[in-house]
């Protein structure tokens, strides 16, 4: 293992230390809706909801965030403090607890707060001298037309490299036709779409993070975190999303990998039996999976080597699918060293860099400060964007 291997991290949670920082990006009327500290015990509303499943030893690693006050976002506020990212060529910032917000119950507010988060990301994180920073467009997915508009707006910043769906706002699997305007806009703007485990965990979603009901403990929630991802993948394939949008790529995060072989075998068994139910599924599910889906390594079963070996043996092509994603600063986050130690040596470059380059394309290669992947070509504008911080109202409308 070379010391300090170069890598792209497709899942790092950036955060705010106090919600006031984020609120400042809301339009004035919505700022008033949130409110501020006042007399007689009044104060601001909490800006968003949180995942009800709390890790028994703390949701984030000790010392990884500046602040654990209520309203802090459980994301990293200063990435430069962490040596683990020294050799990273790109970090995809993934919004922390902001991902829970799209399912909240006031639809218009979810539109406003997602815009604010995206403006905050662009202003506070993407415009500085640290060329490793790339962002995710968080979308108000329960109002798909607004989500599509937000993709088109925020993607004008070339350091936004993916769409993050966040919490399930319509309580339907993500392949449902209601969500398709989001995929249309993502493809139009050349962006992949990311689905994170926990998409169905908040109390706002009528859907559940596990079958039957929400589980009764964190350990059960984490062990079964692949379930919502299975459902969403099944629906993307089953509803013909990849038939409609053949250029769409999807990144799934936080469910591990051990469920993949048995899930696809079962899917193909049923694909052969139920041709009359979904004749628009024109290829075997595993072919759609291999072509369109990447899997992040957060919650990969690194400490179950017999399961990993079994999975690698049972499913050919995992080396083209895995993208390193640490999940930092989550309690269960993984390091690049531990991941590369757990996969075959010949997989290391793909898992650390090349698969992510395939996923994110020229947005990540054009902007990264150093050569991203030895064999990847960079465009002529290979310099990082070192734009000055700009006020959100100066962004193009």
């Amino acid at each position: 293992m070379p010391a300090n291997p170069e890598f792209i991290d497709c899942f790092v949670d950036h955060g705010w230390s106090d919600q006031e920082e984020l609120v400042s990006y809301l339009p004035r009327g919505w700022r008033d809706y949130v409110g501020t500290v006042g007399p007689h015990g009044t104060g601001p509303r909490p800006i968003g909801n949180r995942n009800p499943f709390q890790h028994p030893q703390g949701d984030v690693l000790q010392g990884s965030t500046a602040d654990h006050r209520p309203g802090s976002s459980l994301g990293v506020t200063d990435l430069s403090a962490f040596t683990r990212f020294t050799s990273a060529s790109a970090l995809v910032l993934s919004c922390g607890i902001g991902r829970n917000f799209p399912a909240m119950n006031l639809p218009q507010y979810t539109v406003a707060i997602c815009r604010a988060i995206n403006d905050w990301t662009i202003d506070r994180w993407l415009g500085g001298p640290d060329g490793r920073m790339f962002g995710s467009i968080l979308v108000p997915n329960q109002v798909p037309a607004e989500a599509a508009a937000e993709i088109r707006r925020a993607s004008r910043n070339s350091r936004m490299v993916q769409v993050v769906l966040g919490a399930n706002g319509l309580s339907k699997p993500f392949g449902h036709p209601a969500y398709h305007p989001i995929y249309e806009a993502a493809v139009e703007c050349g962006l992949p779409v990311a689905i994170h485990a926990g998409s169905d965990a908040t109390a706002d979603s009528l859907s559940s993070p596990t079958a039957v009901s929400a589980p009764l403990s964190y350990g059960e929630y984490a062990a079964l975190s692949g379930q919502s991802i299975m459902t969403h993948i099944a629906s993307l394939i089953g509803q013909g999303v990849f038939t409609k949008y053949p250029d769409l790529k999807v990144l799934v995060v936080g469910g591990g990998v051990g469920w993949i072989p048995s899930f696809l075998w079962r899917f193909e068994l049923n694909y052969r039996a139920f041709g009359r139910d979904d004749p628009w599924v024109n290829k075997p599910p595993s072919e759609y999976f291999r072509t369109h889906i990447k899997v992040a390594t957060f919650r990969m079963e690194l400490e179950a080597p017999e399961l990993l070996a079994a999975t690698i043996g049972a499913f050919a092509g995992l080396d083209n699918i895995l993208c390193f994603g640490s999940g930092f600063p989550a309690a269960e986050s993984v390091s690049i060293e531990s991941v590369l130690d757990s996969v075959p040596v010949e997989w290391r470059q793909r898992v650390s860099t090349l698969n992510a380059v395939e996923l994110y394309g020229s947005r990540i290669t054009a902007n990264a400060p150093s050569g991203v992947g030895a064999s990847v070509q960079r465009s002529d504008s290979g310099r990082p964007q070192a734009s000055a911080r700009s006020h959100p109202t100066e962004l193009p409308e």
Partner: protein, 375 residues
Amino acid sequence: MTAGGYDGSVIDCDVHHAYGPATKLTPYIQAPWREFVSASTMSLNPAQKHYPHPFGTNKRIDLVDDGGPTPGWDYDLMASQLLDPFNIGRAILNYDVGHESAHNNHYLAAALASALNDWSLDTWLSRGDDRLYGSILVASTLPTYAANEIRRLGAHPRMVGVLMVADGLGLPFGHPIYHPIFEAASEFDLPISLHFGADLWSKQGQLAAGGNPLSRTEFYTLLPQPAMHHITSCISHGVFDKWPNVRLVLLETGYTWLPWLARTLDLQFSNLRRESPFVRNLPSETILTNVRIATQPYEPPEHSSHLIDLLSALDGIEDVIMFSSDYPHWDIDDADDVAKEFPPGWRAKIMYRNAEQTFRWPATGAAGSPSSRTI
């Protein structure tokens, strides 16, 4: 015809028998529900989530001759189509599919479950064919009623297990509210079978994470999800800790996902233990001692070496898998086909011995070898 690569007797853990028209069941319903059912036009079928069968039938089509008896309703047909040709030494009859126990009126649901049990004992299990065994169907929505039903029939020699087909409370079965059911089953040394994951019927239980599946293909693909949660929950909340002799049997969910579940639960061992005083052993160890799983629907990959690779993640899985046919449904697995997919050293266990050691067979008079339980 004998099982390919396996010549012995076969135990079939999941066969579906049916009463046919409701009038056949009504005589077995206790008062006052019998009068209610007779006088009303209400269907005995509860509402289910809408994933209709293509061609309007769940049966394997070539088993049905126009004008002939419906498979599952008729003993002679079952003998000629399943028991005789496939050398079935013991078959466990599990209704078609017992969903009456999920009726939205919980008291009627409990009455219907009892009626089905009495119908099965009277019309199938007392005809003298000692290959036939039954399950005590219970309505899980009223756990004390379910426990009473288990105690009512638990000593009957032809009832070899308990069956639940729905979790009408929308909670995973490890939840303490269900524990009276496990307590009663434990008293009689009966395993508890969950058919189909149990969340198709009723409004409460979620069929899958992430929202209702959007097609039959997706639904069937995600079918194991409730079973995964029920296993997880029973382990986490002490069912097997409190009643070590209770075995949980999963029917009609396939089994290839079990090694993944066992290992992913092991990875959460320290978290599970923090939130539950009942998790003392590694979950994978508990699965090996207390969970059994039927083979159907058999979902082989293109290369059988891939299956063996995946199963190798759980050493001892060959002691946990049991053959089932799902006769007379559309995706029956034939004993011959299933046996030959496994390594030769596993076949006798999967086709017979694991089921022999899991269900509570009568001490004497059971077809084949006498029961020998290791748990």
